[in-house]
């Protein structure tokens, strides 16, 4: 079958998932539990996606783990998005240069 049929189906489903809540929920939600839930979602979802995935993204799990720990320490001490991101990459590169 034409690949563009697949691409259209994938694009349409993904588009609706992303856009429907944003366009349908127009008001501030007043329910406190629901508000709290949506407030916590970003932190939980980003944390869930980071670990242990970071250990699977690298050639050896150790480099991912050390990069995670250093990233947490750097972000804790106030480093921004770009420095933390670059530092995590550099740490993996150096460790794998030594280990792999």
């Amino acid at each position: 079958m034409n690949k563009y049929v697949y691409i259209s189906a994938m694009a349409l489903v993904t588009f609706l998932i992303r856009v429907l809540p944003l366009t349908l929920i127009r008001r501030k939600i007043s329910n406190r539990t629901l508000r709290s839930f949506l407030y916590y979602v970003p932190y939980v979802t980003l944390a869930v996606m980071t670990f242990p995935a970071i250990m699977e993204a690298t050639q050896v799990p150790w480099s991912g783990l050390i990069s995670l720990i250093c990233g947490i320490a750097l972000a804790w001490s106030g480093a921004g998005l770009f420095p933390v991101s670059v530092a995590c990459c550099a740490i993996v590169f150096v460790i794998e240069l030594l280990l792999v």
């Binding site: 079958m1 690949k3 697949y6 691409i7 189906a9 694009a11 349409l12 489903v13 993904t14 998932i17 992303r18 856009v19 429907l20 809540p21 944003l22 366009t23 929920i25 008001r27 501030k28 406190r32 539990t33 709290s36 839930f37 949506l38 407030y39 916590y40 979602v41 970003p42 932190y43 939980v44 979802t45 980003l46 944390a47 869930v48 996606m49 980071t50 242990p52 995935a53 993204a57 690298t58 050639q59 991912g64 995670l68 947490i72 750097l74 804790w76 480093a79 921004g80 998005l81 770009f82 991101s85 670059v86 530092a87 995590c88 990459c89 550099a90 993996v92 590169f93 794998e96 792999v100």
Partner: protein
């Protein structure tokens, strides 16, 4: 009438200046996102090529879908000869977390945000762009999100194109190092609030532990990573919302 007209024009002018500023701020945070995307999407391009997509088709897919797990799942299903309906259902499952993110973002936008900007912001919800948009202080200006997407999305497409054209021409070492860049960004988003708020710190720790457990437990191991993310996010966030409901003032930080 004169002064009124003048002041309203002046207001428009100020508004436009602010939008440009926010667009530029978006571009700045978009650069590290783009670098990570470039690295990650190379692997996608290779997967697309293996599934029989031309480089152009692979790039179009990336520019329209902007989702690593979703695209990867889609390519592997197409490669295995699945039908369109199966692929569509797979997308629904792999990308369902964006539904939650879209709900959260709806509370981050000003109520008066017009439809076109709601669609625009929605189209560019990815894990990373969502993350930086939620970290934006106060109500979200869509132009900040557009700035981030203006850098990140082309990088995503370009990486896919390179992967599909060249296969694995980049040394594995470089791809491996670049691929943690996105996780570094996630840390930079979640750790500073965790330092200020003990509940968030606890949530991050619980989320790490639960996610690790879900990957190791025999029963949960076979769930797709998209489903796992949703189940854990809903369970942990809901428990936290009931145990530690947020006061109005905290939310506006």
């Amino acid at each position: 009438m004169g002064p009124l007209l003048y002041s309203s024009h002046y207001g428009d002018f100020k508004m436009r200046g602010k939008r440009i500023d926010n667009f530029k701020r978006g571009i700045r945070v978009g650069i590290p996102i783009g670098l990570g995307y470039f690295a990650v999407s190379i692997a996608l391009g290779i997967a697309a090529r293996n599934a029989g997509f031309t480089p152009l088709q692979a790039t179009v897919t990336s520019l329209l879908i902007n989702a690593s797990a979703g695209e990867y799942a889609g390519f592997s299903l197409v490669a295995s000869g699945a039908g369109v309906l199966e692929v569509a259902i797979m997308e629904l499952i792999a990308n369902a977390r964006y539904l939650l993110m879209s709900c959260s973002l709806s509370q981050k936008l000003s109520q008066s945000t017009p439809l076109k900007h709601r669609i625009g912001v929605g189209f560019y919800i990815t894990d990373e762009i969502f993350g930086v948009s939620m970290a934006y202080p106060g109500e979200l200006d869509p132009f900040f999100t557009y700035g981030a997407a203006a850098v990140a999305s082309p990088c995503w497409g370009l990486g896919t194109l390179c992967g599909a054209l060249l296969g694995s021409v980049l040394p594995l070492r470089v791809v491996s190092a670049l691929s943690v860049g996105l996780y570094g960004m996630f840390l930079a988003i979640i750790i500073p609030p965790a330092r200020r708020d003990r509940v968030i710190a606890g949530l991050v720790a619980v989320s790490f532990a639960a996610s690790f457990a879900a990957n190791s437990l025999p029963l949960l191991q076979h769930l797709s990573s998209g489903i796992k993310t949703i189940v854990l996010t809903v369970t942990i966030s809901l428990a936290a919302a009931m145990l530690f409901p947020v006061k109005e003032a905290e939310e506006d930080e």
